[in-house]
């Protein structure tokens, strides 16, 4: 095949015999059942996120007590925060996704982690903890909005 050639292929469609789907796709009742199943997992989520918050706090404390390996510990903070970001919204805790997204973005940009960065990381971890402790579902209403604005202001300060 030359660099310029493009060939179209219709793949073998073994699925036609296995899957039937109307033009409208999954019907509303089935979709509602699937959403109800996810909602029923919210209790599990609250247990999982407790583990994530404990691990976040642990990684933060190691980053503080072991500054020579701070980058390694901050990478771990990023990894856990990334999981928190990905899960919160699925289980009705969109505010967890928002705050964890801020934490991930901030951590990604840190070149030389200093005390000011560690302080802001701690604020985010505390905010995540607050959301779960207070069961601030969804976007957290006025309290959630205030929390997010506060974090944005602090991030703005260290970004200058």
């Amino acid at each position: 095949m030359s660099d310029d050639e493009v060939e179209f292929i219709t793949p073998p469609n073994k699925l036609q015999s296995k899957v039937t789907m109307s033009a409208g796709g999954v019907d509303p009742a089935t979709l509602a059942r699937a959403e109800a199943v996810i909602a029923s997992l919210q209790g599990n989520y609250l247990q999982w996120v407790e583990d994530d918050l404990t691990n976040l706090q642990g990684a933060y404390e190691r980053a503080m007590s072991d500054p020579s390996n701070r980058r390694v510990h901050i990478s771990e903070i990023f990894r856990i925060a990334h999981d928190v970001k990905g899960q919160g919204g699925s289980f009705g805790y969109q505010l967890m996704t928002v705050i964890a997204t801020y934490l991930c973005r901030m951590v990604e940009k840190i070149e030389n982690p200093g005390p000011e960065h560690m302080a802001v990381i701690k604020l985010h971890i505390d905010a995540l903890r607050l959301v779960i402790t207070q069961r601030m579902e969804g976007t957290g209403g006025a309290a959630g909005e205030s929390l997010v604005k506060g974090l944005e202001a602090v991030i703005g300060k260290i970004s200058r």
């Binding site: 060939e7 179209f8 219709t10 979709l31």
Partner: protein
């Protein structure tokens, strides 16, 4: 029929985080998919595909030792791929356009950003089954047609003006891209 009947469908979920894996599996079960296999990284999934023969793969991006993009590349063009045509839906918390483009360029059918919902996951599954795209084989790409819309393009049209080739089964070895 109205809706979706996926009782005979075999799905493979490739996800290293057990919580995400449970979430995806729960949605699949709720919409009627009965056969769901799981793997925790791309290498294990490739190995599993030799015996499981999934009809649909849902794969996370970030995994070790083999991530989702490398897995998708191996499925599409690897010499030992069990099924280069299998639909692949990629799930990721990374949504930067360059990363989405990277997934597209290794032949991923659909991309889904975390956090996922039942509505989004079923929409991606619907897209795979209701709007299947022909595959394209080019010098540097093999996978679903990346042009979802027929829009006029600037410059010379590089695509051959031909009818699609219909393969009756899995790739013959000597025609593998």
């Amino acid at each position: 029929m109205i809706g979706f009947d996926g009782a005979a469908l075999k799905a493979l979920v490739v996800e290293d985080n057990p919580n995400f894996s449970l979430l995806i599996r729960s949605v699949l079960l709720a919409i009627g998919v009965r056969s769901i296999e799981e793997a925790t990284d791309g290498a294990a999934a490739l190995n599993g595909m030799k015996t499981v023969t999934p009809d649909l793969v849902i794969v996370d991006w970030r995994m070790v030792p083999m991530n989702g993009v490398d897995f998708a590349k191996q499925v599409r063009v690897g010499p030992d791929s069990p099924n280069p045509f299998v639909p692949i839906i990629m799930v990721s918390g990374y949504t930067e356009p360059s990363l989405v483009a990277a997934a597209r360029d290794v032949g991923v059918n659909e991309f889904m950003a975390k956090p996922i919902s039942a509505r989004i996951l079923t929409a991606r599954i619907e897209s795979v089954f209701l709007r299947p795209r022909p595959f394209v084989r080019a010098h540097s790409y093999f996978g679903p047609d990346r042009r979802r819309k027929r829009v006029p393009r600037a410059g010379e049209e590089r695509r051959l003006q031909q009818e699609p080739v219909i393969y009756p089964g899995i790739f013959p070895m000597n025609t593998r891209p």
